[in-house]
């Protein structure tokens, strides 16, 4: 009996002392909870579809942040990984008849391998040269797909794919659950020793090498991990949409993820995720109002520009700095209403 009670007690203690003490963590916790229970009391297929798509793109945005935000390898061709995941899963499903539960993970694995392979030539490049080089990769893959239309479906892609589950609510959970787990996992990677090295590579790669760290290995690891998560999101996208086409490799998608990343705040993981949850449904919400239908993309652009103008670090760091204070002694965060640090007791202001 005592053992049975130990787990809930531990969970409650963690929740009380690690999550509910900070507004940002509380927000993420309750938002995740809301996402998990939403279909139980609101099952509008249109809303569930938008959130499903948002969840898929949130994984994609978080994967970009791991590579570009944490490691500083700013990728302008991130749609490559998304497309590789989508096409691998679609082609295996279409040509071999394999079920999506097998092809989706395989799509992610091949995308991880692609990340590793793409990372090799990119090791020699830095800054804007790296970004421009990465821009070329999805274009090359698109050209290859068009060169073999009988195999790849050419301009139309592969359509009529099977879904992982049939029901709308089922599809919702197929996207939302992996999103919550993977985004938490990516955030933990960023918070780990490996994440610290990623940070160090971004800040000063030479110093990092001088400290005895094999930066080549870590940069390749960042490419591979980023490819894995982006590939999984691409594969989920293909089976949710039931189509994997050249639009999964479009330059527009690569830039879209950069916008999400910068809008939300890079090197945060939760920033790009929140950005997707704000920006992706925004255009849909605007489409529901006649007066905004025609100018919704303009409104979208104005909002992004205003945020970047007044919050150059991105939305989430700006909000976080308003609602939380960093302890000058122990560097831990506290809710802005506190006068003393919750951990070391130092004066906060």
């Amino acid at each position: 009996m005592k053992g049975l009670l130990a787990l809930p007690q531990w969970l409650w203690a963690q929740l009380r002392h690690e999550v509910l003490v900070l507004p940002s963590r509380s927000f993420v916790f309750f938002a995740a909870l809301l996402l998990l229970v939403l279909p139980l009391f609101y099952d509008d297929p249109y809303v569930l579809r938008i959130i499903t798509m948002t969840a898929i793109f949130a994984i994609f945005a978080a994967s970009w942040d791991l590579l570009a935000g944490f490691t500083g390898q700013v990728n302008f061709g991130h749609a490559l990984f998304f497309g590789v995941g989508a096409y691998t899963s679609a082609l295996l499903s279409h040509h071999l008849g394999w079920i999506p539960w097998i092809t989706v993970p395989l799509g992610a694995v091949l995308s991880m391998a692609t990340g590793f392979l793409v990372g090799i030539p990119c090791l020699r490049l830095r800054g804007s040269y790296l970004s421009l080089a990465t821009l070329a990769f999805p274009l090359i893959l698109t050209g290859m797909l068009f060169a073999f239309p009988d195999f790849s479906g050419g301009e139309l892609g592969i359509s009529g794919l099977k879904r992982l589950v049939v029901s709308t609510v089922g599809n919702y959970y197929v996207a939302v659950l992996p999103m919550l787990i993977l985004c938490f996992g990516i955030w933990k990677i960023g918070d780990s020793n490996t994440g610290l090295i990623f940070h160090a590579i971004r800040e000063d790669e030479v110093a990092c090498r001088a400290s005895g760290i094999n930066t080549t290995r870590y940069k390749l690891l960042a490419f591979a991990l980023s490819g894995l998560f982006a590939g999984l999101s691409g594969a989920l996208y293909a089976h949710f949409m039931r189509v994997a086409g050249p639009s999964a490799l479009e330059v527009a998608l690569s830039f879209q993820v950069v916008i999400w990343g910068i809008f939300g705040g890079i090197a945060t993981i939760y920033g790009p995720v929140l950005a997707v949850f704000l920006l992706y449904p925004l255009t849909e919400i605007l489409a529901n109002f006649d007066m905004f239908k025609e100018i919704r993309l303009l409104i979208f652009a104005v909002i992004v520009l205003l945020v970047l103008l007044f919050m150059p670090q991105g939305l989430t760091p700006w909000i976080r700095d308003k609602i939380e204070l960093v302890c000058p002694r122990c560097k831990n965060r506290n809710v802005f209403t506190r006068h003393q640090c919750r951990l070391c007791g130092a004066e906060l202001r």
């Binding site: 249109y46 579809r49 938008i50 798509m53 301009e155 892609g157 359509s159 009529g160 239908k293 025609e294």
Partner: protein, 408 residues
């Protein structure tokens, strides 16, 4: 009844009444990229159909008249495929559309088709030509039977039309220029969709007693093709077979005129279908010809009145996506015939239907594609002659004018 109760009671009755009237409308969701010319024509065609039907009292369903309501659904499909699927989901589940009409970009329409089929909604395609849409119906009838391609004909049939007109142009060259084997230069923009047509042209033209002198594939956004055209001039081509959907069509037309190329351009040139082509080429686009859908000729008895009314209302000629007009009227025909808006009962009626539209005489095959026939669904061919877009094919259609060759 006290005054206090009177107002809410009247309001409630009014609300109930307005709900009843509202629910009597038959809703057609018009799906298209509304910021682009294709979507504008989707909507314009639908507006004309709505106004004409409602002016005549609406659609009779089992003896009861229902007004037509059209919903403008911007799919943004040219820029985003997910936007298109979200839009069609919204039209079905939020706006409660009874019928879906439109679509343009094939990849997006394939994705939208899946959403429509999931919801068992009748979807009349007006804009996408990819064969795959119809193949789906043949391969899995129970799932995809709700799809019909109302316009244009599928890509394979478009090719049939292209070669049929090519044969006619070549024959005129043989007769007028005494050249038994006309020379053809293929100019296709460097995009994926042109590949199939290029292969078909290279295979079929020699069989049609024409010589292919070369293939040129400039970029879809090239701003100068004088090098290609100079080479074509040196090769003494009589026909420039164009496979162009983008602004390259204007560049080609203008520079053919500037170089005084003694050849006609025939094929697909979407820019040449537009009224502004002559101005865009600075008056140099003579002898450029292209496939088209509408002109003031008697493709059907309804064509001329429709084109005139469209021009009068919108101050421009309709393009092929304005066939939403025909899609709505064809549905009106089967709804009145069957007395229902139930998709399951309408499908067999649509499969058997013959509908005389404004641009085609519509009958469907087993893939729910239009049956292709010259003069019925093949569309028309037009040639720019001294600033006017002149229809010249099929020659048996009333109102067609002679095709002109450049001076040699």
């Amino acid at each position: 009844m006290s005054r206090k109760l009177l107002l809410p009671a009247v309001a409630a009755i009014g609300l109930v009444f307005s709900q009843a009237v509202w629910s009597q409308n038959i809703k057609f969701a018009i799906l298209g990229p509304m910021a682009f010319v294709q979507g504008e024509n989707h909507w314009a065609g639908a507006e004309m159909a709505r106004d004409e039907i409602n002016k005549a009292g609406g659609i009779s369903v089992g003896g009861k008249k229902h007004m037509v309501e059209i919903l403008k659904i911007d799919t943004n499909e040219i820029q985003s495929v997910p936007d298109a699927t979200n839009a069609i989901e919204r039209a079905i589940t939020r706006d409660k559309a009874d019928f879906l009409i439109g679509g343009f970009r094939s990849e997006a329409v394939l994705a939208m088709q899946e959403v429509a089929m999931d919801n068992k909604k009748l979807f009349l395609g007006v804009g996408a030509a990819a064969s795959k849409l119809g193949i789906n119906v043949e391969q899995n009838y129970e799932r995809y039977k709700y799809w019909f391609r109302a316009s244009p004909t599928k890509d394979v049939d478009l090719a049939k039309t292209l070669f049929a007109v090519m044969g006619s142009v070549a024959q005129q060259i043989r007769t007028d220029l005494k050249k038994e084997v006309p020379k053809v230069a293929i100019v296709a923009e460097k995009t994926a969709w042109t590949e199939g047509l290029i292969k078909a042209a290279q295979a079929n033209l020699p069989k049609m007693k024409m010589e292919v002198v070369g293939l040129w594939q400039p970029s879809a956004v090239a701003t100068d093709v004088t090098a290609e055209l100079s080479a074509i001039k040196r090769a003494e081509a009589d026909i420039v077979f164009t496979i162009i959907s983008g602004p390259l069509g204007i560049v080609l037309g203008r520079q053919m005129g500037e170089l005084q190329l003694p050849a006609v351009a025939w094929g697909i040139n979407v820019e040449a279908q537009k009224d502004g082509f002559w101005q865009a080429t600075a008056g140099k686009g003579n002898y450029v010809s292209t496939l088209d859908t509408y002109a003031e000729v008697e493709s059907t008895p309804k064509t001329i009145p429709f084109v005139k009314a469209f021009k009068a209302r919108f101050k421009k000629s309709p393009i092929y996506t304005a066939a939403t007009y025909d899609a709505i009227f064809s549905l009106k025909q089967v709804i009145e015939q069957t007395g229902t808006i139930d998709a399951e009962k309408l499908i067999p009626a649509i499969e058997k239907m013959e509908y005389v539209g404004t641009g085609a005489i519509v009958t469907y095959d087993k893939r729910h594609d239009l049956n292709w026939a010259v003069g019925k669904t093949s569309g028309i061919a037009v040639e720019w002659q001294d600033g006017e877009k002149v229809p010249f094919w099929p020659p048996q259609t009333k109102g067609m004018k002679p095709f002109k060759l450049p001076k040699h």
